[in-house]
């Protein structure tokens, strides 16, 4: 019996888990939303509408069917890529989500890239200068970076770079196909605001991982062969520290996709987070559940990828579920 069988078994179990997670999540979302107080039709028509008009709109929105029928129709539709029609905007939910993904995905990627480009070198530098003033200074910086509420930091960035220096816009989003340069400029400040805490966390994780690695035997061996500490860290340490860093990156990506709502608000960006927020207040339940399930899929899939990556790198983990 070879490792191949173990690997296949592991994959099958993980995929089954993935599917089960999604199904249960869909059920939870549907039930929760069905419990929400507040009539979507009344919300749209406001305080002077006649009861007949409200009733007419409810019928138009398809709110009259029984719950289990609506649930099956929803899940069945999603399997063939049909997320239904938004009740307030009367447009395909899939289309609305795709529009928002064009903002949220690049924004998350920018924040990831910036946090890697800034965070990892700081972590490496701090590890090389461990215990020295540089290390302390960098770690104080990293502690502060995690501790600043991001809507506050976002506003400070705007005041400096948009209001005072006028280098970048205060926010807003120009569609990519209209002016990619302008779209990019609009994403710069929110990207930085999102990246700050992530970069700080990465720097700390990188430093800790490197410090651990340098205490292990093969680094000592390398140093005994005449390498300097810095050389040893570069040649051997960084590569070995990448595993914990990759895990954090996976977590961060999952978080960024959903967690940008506050920064989207500060920079008036039409992202997925704000879509869900407005859709709930407008009781556009079809849109809310579609967008939420997409987030759940992205988060779960990211975690799956991280787990699989782990299993390939470190086959010992396959025995138990991760």
């Amino acid at each position: 019996m070879g490792g191949g069988f173990h690997m296949t078994l592991f994959l099958v179990r993980r995929m089954a888990g993935f599917a089960a997670t999604l199904f249960v999540a869909a059920l939870v979302i549907f039930l929760l939303l069905d419990l929400l107080p507040g009539d979507p039709a009344r919300f749209i028509l406001g305080i002077n509408a006649t009861p007949e008009a409200v009733a007419a709109l409810r019928t138009q929105m398809g709110l009259d069917a029984p719950a289990h029928e609506r649930f099956l129709a929803w899940v069945g539709g999603m399997l063939v890529g049909d997320f239904g029609l938004s009740t307030t905007q009367r447009l395909p939910v899939a289309e609305l989500i795709a529009e928002r993904m064009a903002v949220t995905l690049p924004l998350s990627l920018i924040a990831m890239v910036v946090s890697v480009v800034v965070g990892l070198p700081i972590g490496i530098l701090a590890a090389m200068r461990r215990g020295k003033a540089t290390d302390t200074a960098l770690m104080v910086l990293a502690q502060t970076g995690v501790a600043i509420p991001n809507f506050w930091f976002g506003m400070l960035l705007t005041l400096v770079f948009a209001v005072t220096l006028r280098w970048l816009p205060t926010g807003g989003f120009i569609p990519w196909d209209e002016d990619a340069g302008a779209a990019m400029r609009g994403m710069t400040l929110p990207g930085l605001a999102l990246a700050l805490p992530q970069a700080s966390i990465l720097a700390r994780v990188m430093r800790t991982a490197l410090v651990d690695v340098t205490e292990q035997d093969f680094i000592r061996t390398a140093r005994a062969k005449g390498m300097t500490k810095s050389e040893a860290i570069w040649r051997h340490g960084v590569r070995n520290a990448l595993l914990p860093v990759l895990t954090i990156l996976g977590l961060q990506f999952a978080f960024l996709i959903a967690g940008t709502i506050i920064v989207e608000n500060v920079f008036y960006l039409p992202g997925l987070g704000r879509l869900i927020f407005t859709a709930i207040s407008e009781r556009d339940l079809v849109l809310v559940r579609g967008a939420t399930i997409v987030l759940v899929v992205v988060t779960t899939a990211t975690m799956l990828v991280v787990d699989l990556a782990y299993a390939f790198v470190d086959p010992r983990l396959k025995g138990r579920d991760a």
Binding site: P37, D39, E99, Y268
Partner: protein
Amino acid sequence: MTARNTLALTVAGLLLMAGPALAQPTEIRIGVALEPPTLDPTAGAAEAIDVVVYQNVFEGLVRIDQTGAVQPGLAKSWTISEDGLTYRFALNEGVTFHDGTAFDAEDVKFSFDRLLAEDSVNAQKALYAPISAVTVIDPMTVEFTLSRPDGLFLFNLGRGDAVIVAPESAANNGAEPIGTGPFAFIQWDRGSRVVLEQYGPYWGEAPALTRASFVFISDTATLTNALLAGDVDGTNNFAAEALAVFENNPQFKVLVGSTEGETILSTNNRKEPFTDLKVRQAMAHALDRQEIIEGATYGYGVPIGTHFAPHHPYYLDLTDTYPHDVEAAKTLLAEAGYTDGFSATLKLPPVAYARLSGQIIASQFAEVGIELELINMEWAQWLEDVFANKDFDLTIISHVEPFDIGIYANPDYYFGYDNAQVQALNETLNATTDEADRLALAQEIQTIIARDAVNGYLFELAQTGVWNAKLDGMWQNAPVEGVVLRDIYWVE
């Protein structure tokens, strides 16, 4: 390429770029707090819909000007029968919808049949209930028959809810509005902005602006920064708390005007202890209106003592009916049997004026022994709890309908005021056409509801616009909801 060539090209490029900027700008970017859920003003109550499309994309038979007066719109003139039951409108010729289809009397009939139909989803359908028939006389003449005289009929025709739509495009207006207005819809980047462009074949006088975008910015601090950085050119209603940033800045002008929003401490008149007149009077005495206006609107709200707009000719100043008097309030409470006061809930919708006023009122009521529990709610839930189910003690809300004193004659309305005298007076008022009589009737109702302390009368909301100092032609007042672009232009 040599360095010198590069330099020359760069300079040329800079000159080219500078070129258009020197000419008169004809574009405007307006920051607004709320994004409309749809762009069809005949299928939703959201003010945000009218802000973008009213009189810009869509027009009605008549239009309301910034003083609140009725002006000709798609109808160039009209005649009213002696009994006030028949209105005959002569329509403008050469009017086209933005998709090129022609406008005529059939479109008018279609629009109103749709509005009044059984399955209509118009938010203000009740306002048009007096219409019994719409008849096409000829392609350029249309006649409305009413079942009873209605003093506000023409004004209501000028509202966003009664704009004229075309049968070819009406179903799609929510996503892609097609009207007859001076601006045509170009695109809606959801969550971000709506872009309009001047409609070349417009039947009336062409506006000065060629392009306008409405940018949706809900956060006040963000909107402040966007205005300061020049990313938007103005906003029609800016949060009063941060107006100080622009007040002494020569690059901006602050326009303070009136709205139709009577902000009141709505009281559930069906429910103990508010059924007791003495309790309501005590609450009226406990309110310090000046402090509420200062704290919640930074002094921009106009005090009201009854449910009527202070800038209206019928308005009667009744702010002194129950002056702020803590001792009087305590005495009245004791007389009503509440020596130790009582507790009640105050449900607050998600608007700054309500949330701030609520905190201040809770503090003021605490002084006379009334303990308020503040419950903050979203709109959807507020509408269901307070408005539909009437499950509330107190709430704070701005009633933005013009001339809406009739709600006091409807005992089924959410605050549940049931007074036969007011109901009779209101019926007479609706059927009266003589101005002097109408004024007397309206003032009598105002006085009765003020004395009855039906609700706590707080202030009339102000409209506080912030605009680039080089812009002119914006509406200062808001007699109806909307940001009307037709008169706006850049001065230089």
